[in-house]
């Protein structure tokens, strides 16, 4: 190999940023974690909802959906526009002896107590994002994995959720598209 060519290759190797190698095999992986609720915040947007009923870009009579004859909201909700934030501690085992990170769910309520939830799982090797529909109080649900960082760069797949012992939630993260 000629010296100029070698020098050029060295310069190129240094100049190229650390990005996933093109053509690298796209792997898959499954991770099971147990989530224990750590904290929660519910946001009741009743006043915003009421203002939205009188001034909005739609020609719908939304009042009857939520308001009773007395002008108060029917039941306890959650109602459209409310949101709830859940913080979880994650463990690798059902006995909660091996901490595995944390998870955060931000859920925006729509109608019939269904919410669109954006979640992230903050694991030792990186971050995983998942989104999907969750019914209020529901324990079985599936989210789509929309991305990840570091070891989970470019991740796709899905998260299956099921109840576990002692008020925990089991999450099975099935990942594809890993480098």
């Amino acid at each position: 190999m000629s010296r100029p060519l070698l020098a050029t290759m060295v310069v190129l190797a240094v100049a190229l940023p650390a990005i996933p190698a093109s053509g690298a095999s796209r792997g898959s992986q499954s991770i099971r974690v147990y989530a224990v609720p750590a904290t929660v915040q519910f946001m009741n947007h009743a006043d915003d909802r009421l203002r939205g009923m009188s001034t909005n870009p739609f020609k719908l009579k939304a009042e009857t959906v939520i308001l009773g004859k007395n002008g108060k909201e029917k039941g306890n909700g959650p109602f459209p526009g409310d949101d709830i934030l859940y913080g979880f501690k994650l463990f690798a085992d059902a006995n909660r002896s091996q901490p595995a990170g944390a998870a955060m769910f931000t859920c925006y309520y729509e109608f019939v107590k269904r919410a669109t939830c954006d979640s992230y799982f903050d694991l030792a090797k990186g971050l995983l994002l998942a989104s999907g529909q969750v019914r209020f109080g529901g324990t079985h649900f599936t989210l789509g994995v929309t991305g990840g960082t570091n070891a989970y760069f470019g991740a796709l797949g899905q998260v299956d959720s099921a109840p576990a012992a002692r008020n925990a939630q089991r999450f099975d993260l099935h990942l594809t598209g890993l480098r």
């Binding site: 100049a15 190229l16 990005i19 609720p37 915040q41 946001m43 709830i84 913080g87």
Partner: protein, 199 residues
């Protein structure tokens, strides 16, 4: 509640150790009307090309939305939901200065191709919902050239590095995946360095 100026300053404080980013920006070059970029060609037929580039963002506008009333009503309702008897979120109602759980913020950046902020290449919007310990989940939309990059993830406004996952895009970034790392530009109060790594 922090002021708009405080919010911009806090964003500006997202920071530190940008040596690698700066190095890449430097070697990527400041080519006209496009962010400093490198592209690697696929090695195999089934391979996907990868892209890495840097843009510089200067906050232009910020709006903080204080949902204290919604939070207070929510706290009352939470009991009726029997939400597992969970503790009150840290910093949620502490009275300390700063964003609290459920508050939101919108920030607009002007994006530049070069460190000296002379060549505009687009704009970015961050829509953030704060959760606990002053951390927020941010939805970032980066309009760069002939496309948009969509990113999502947690962000702390404490001067540290933030990494969001890129979940998609439009136009020249359609189908993009990867991550974007933001740090404070060296020697700047609030200019952000956004380093994209896409596949």
């Amino acid at each position: 509640m922090i002021s708009r100026r405080g919010l911009v300053a806090a964003l500006g404080a997202v920071a530190a150790g940008a040596a690698i980013v700066v190095a890449i920006a430097g070697c990527g070059g400041d080519k006209a009307r496009s962010p400093a970029a490198t592209r690697t060609a696929p090695a195999g037929a089934a391979a996907t090309p990868s892209r890495s580039f840097v843009v510089y963002g200067k906050p232009k506008q910020a709006q903080s939305v204080n949902h204290a009333d919604d939070r207070a009503r929510g706290d009352k309702l939470l009991k009726s939901f029997n939400a597992d008897g969970l503790p009150t979120p840290p910093s949620a109602n502490s009275g300390k200065k700063g964003e609290r759980a459920g508050d939101s913020a919108l920030i607009i950046f002007v994006l530049y191709a070069d460190r000296s902020l002379t060549r505009v290449v687009g704009s970015a919007t961050y829509s953030c919902t704060f959760n606990f310990d002053q951390e927020a989940v941010c939805d970032g939309q980066f309009q760069i050239g002939a496309g948009t990059i969509i990113a999502l993830g947690p962000a702390k406004f404490d001067g540290g590095e933030n990494v969001l996952a890129v979940t998609g895009g439009t136009g020249q970034y359609a189908g993009a995946h990867g991550q974007v790392t933001s740090t404070r530009a060296t020697g700047s109060k609030n200019t952000q360095v956004f380093r994209f790594e896409l596949v």
